[in-house]
């Protein structure tokens, strides 16, 4: 993370930090230390702003563009993007039915997040709590948990999804459940490994000598250390889950049209890839940008919440950026 910051010049997404960052200090003034540190890292703040935009789009987008997304105009079919003559609705082009790609992208944001966020959250919470518990207690609990994880991982997840979603209806809730179930072992293994190492540390022994209960020790000493790792993993998983959802949609058992998700848009646009590249490239970009932003923020969060590494965010080399930001705000 720090390497990328050193390697890249301060162009790219940095300009976006200005307005977005200026709007938020009041909201988070109860924790100025963390927020100030976020401002110092331009990539993390860019990631935060982009995620905020995505969330706002998911919240208000369908309200504003719902009609536009379903309005067909066969005269405007397969228009290329970036042509101002077509009007702002068709700025990102149109599909074979003449629907605005921009509007469909905006409307799909909500469906995508509504599937990916709960799926990642459920898998993360269950998997990491289970893993932390198994790793702390060792012995048979650890062995049983690991074998269960092996069974889930060795079972083809797509096959499992197909079976489950054919038997039950392919509703969003079922998709979330099946995606969460197949991704639990990832968190389980990571959390178990860290927790097994932590439970042999001296400060955990010290807590045992006070008579602290295992659950209290897990809560106080194990979870805070494991959380940043798990969060970073979760942002990577976010990308995977979005793509898995799109492959389910492609098989016809995921999100059902007329609903749209980014993954579904990618797979629907694939057959027009040679004639209308924008149909799958833009939803694909949306997935990539969202995932990268989440990852940037998580990587920053990992450093910021670790007292041993926090100094890295306070290096004087970053001062320039803060001065420039302040100058912008004052204008």
């Amino acid at each position: 993370m720090s390497q990328t910051i050193q390697d890249l010049p301060g162009t790219g997404p940095a300009p976006q930090t200005g307005p977005g960052a200026g709007a938020r200090p009041d909201a988070k003034s109860n924790n100025p230390g963390l927020f100030r540190m976020l401002l110092r890292d331009k990539f993390a703040s860019a990631g935060a702003v982009i995620l905020l935009l995505v969330l706002l789009t998911a919240a208000f987008g369908p309200m504003l563009m719902g009609d536009l997304a379903t309005r067909q105009n066969l005269l405007f079919a397969n228009k290329a993007p970036f042509n101002p003559a077509n009007g702002w609705e068709y700025f990102l082009g149109s599909d074979s039915l003449g629907r605005s790609v921009l509007a469909r992208l905006v409307v799909a944001t909500r469906t995508t997040l509504a599937v990916a966020v709960p799926a990642v959250a459920v898998a993360m919470v269950i998997g990491s709590l289970w893993g932390v518990w198994a790793g702390y207690h060792r012995g048979w609990r650890e062995n049983v948990s690991m074998r269960v994880a092996d069974v889930i991982m060795s079972f083809p997840s797509l096959l499992l999804a197909v079976v489950v979603l054919y038997v039950f209806s392919p509703s969003a809730a079922n998709i979330v459940l099946i995606l969460a179930l197949t991704r639990i072992p990832i968190y389980l293994r990571t959390a178990r490994a860290e927790s097994a190492e932590l439970q042999s540390r001296t400060f955990v022994d010290a807590a045992r000598t006070f008579g602290a209960r295992p659950n209290a020790i897990i809560r106080r000493h194990v979870i805070p250390v494991v959380t940043p790792t798990i969060l970073t993993l979760a942002t990577l998983e976010f990308c995977y889950v979005m793509l898995a959802e799109s492959s389910l949609s492609f098989l016809g058992i995921g999100i059902q049209p007329p609903d749209a998700s980014w993954g579904l848009l990618v797979s629907q646009g694939r057959q027009y890839l040679q004639t209308a590249w924008w149909l799958s490239i833009f939803p694909g970009l949306a997935i990539v940008i969202t995932a990268i932003s989440a990852n940037m923020l998580a990587a920053w969060l990992r450093i910021a919440t670790d007292p041993a590494q926090r100094w890295r965010l306070a290096l004087p080399g970053r001062r320039k950026l803060i001065v420039r930001l302040k100058a912008k705000e004052s204008k």
Binding site: D205, T209, F210, R220, D306
Partner: protein
């Protein structure tokens, strides 16, 4: 018999009594096909109130296992531990918590024993999260925290700092403050100064001494640094391969060791004063034997220069200094006048002449 002899005083019963504690670990098979490692092989100890017992011995002799057993981190296979007549291994729930409150521990490594993600204040007040009855209101806790910080020589404002911002000595003070947070009666100090540099060692040792004067706590001081042990302890127990081979007052053990191993240990410790140095050091040959295959009879015989056939055949019983053929002057110990302490060693041929410069010439 040993129980009677090892007792410090009849009228002031010992706070902590350890009787015949055995702890075996299962490990991968050694060359002789044995997979049971006897880390503790019949340990007998007693610590009086307000007393400091030193526990010395080579690395791997079982000092830390003993400490972990006393803190209930390991369960002994047999034998008993009693503190004030209570056996912690038979206690449960509330009784066990109140037992734990009375016995606390300071760990060796001040860097590993503090959670880097907590502030010093959180670390010191952590025991109160389990022992909720101790300080009920947050105001009481704040006051006690400030008091503890002041007691160990830190500022009240230090409570908000994280462990990384402290030096090694300050971190060890935090560890001591945490051990004191429950007002214990006995603190086990597992090499509390071995990770610190010399000037800081002195600070921490003086702090421990002051705390004992103020609070009247007992210490079990585990160390391999003999000069430190000599400085701070009232009584010393010498451990070798999971057994305590010699006990006595610090002065007796250091000045007039009975067991050849103790004599070798004492002569190995460096001394600044050339006059106090032995003319010839007793240099032990060979390594500490593996506790997986301890020697038969006396455990020290493989490295002992006085070993004879009987040493291999029979485990030596405890002998007092008088039995070893010494004239023992009824000299009261310095720190606790009027309390005679037996000087015992497990050896077939205890050193009759006080070891020192002369002993080495034999």
């Amino acid at each position: 018999m040993t129980a009677l002899l090892d007792r410090t005083v009849a009228d002031r019963p010992a706070a902590l009594e350890v009787r015949d504690v055995v702890k075996t670990f299962h490990v991968s098979r050694s060359a002789s096909g044995n997979n049971r490692l006897r880390a503790l092989d019949g340990i007998n100890l007693s610590v009086g109130r307000g007393e400091t017992l030193g526990l010395v011995g080579e690395s791997g002799c079982g000092k830390s296992t003993l400490a972990r057993t006393l803190m209930l981190l390991e369960k002994p296979d047999s034998g008993s531990v009693t503190f004030d007549g209570q056996d912690p291994f038979s206690l449960k729930g509330k009784d066990l918590l109140s037992w734990r409150r009375r016995v606390q521990m300071v760990f060796q490594d001040p860097f590993a024993s503090l959670n880097a993600r907590m502030t010093a204040g959180d670390i010191i007040s952590e025991p109160w999260a389990t022992h909720r009855g101790l300080h009920r209101t947050s105001r009481e806790r704040e006051a006690r925290l400030a008091e503890l910080l002041q007691l160990v020589g830190l500022r009240a404002s230090d409570a908000r700092k994280s462990p990384q911002e402290f030096s090694g000595g300050q971190r060890q003070r935090i560890g001591i403050a945490r051990a004191l947070a429950l007002n214990p009666e006995l603190i086990i100090l597992d090499e509390p100064v071995s990770a610190l540099d010399l000037s800081v060692q002195a600070q921490v040792l003086n702090l421990l001494n002051d705390l004992q004067q103020q609070l009247g706590v007992s210490y079990i001081f585990i160390s391999h640094d003999l000069s430190v042990v000599r400085h701070v302890t009232d009584r010393v127990a010498v451990m070798y391969l999971g057994r305590i081979i010699e006990t006595g007052t610090t002065e007796d053990v250091f000045e007039r060791p009975l067991h050849p191993y103790t004599a070798a240990l004492m002569s190995a410790s460096p001394k600044l004063d050339p006059a106090a140095r032995p003319a010839e050091r007793i240099v032990l040959k060979g390594e500490l034997p593996s506790p997986l295959d301890p020697p038969s009879g006396c455990r020290f015989r493989t490295r002992c220069w006085k070993a004879q056939d009987i040493c291999a055949a029979e485990a030596p019983r405890k002998r007092t200094a008088a039995e070893a053929g010494r004239t023992v002057l009824p000299m009261p110990a310095l720190r606790r006048p009027g309390l005679p302490v037996e000087h015992l060693a497990e050896c077939h041929f205890p050193l009759a002449v006080p070891a020192g410069p002369d002993a080495a010439r034999e």
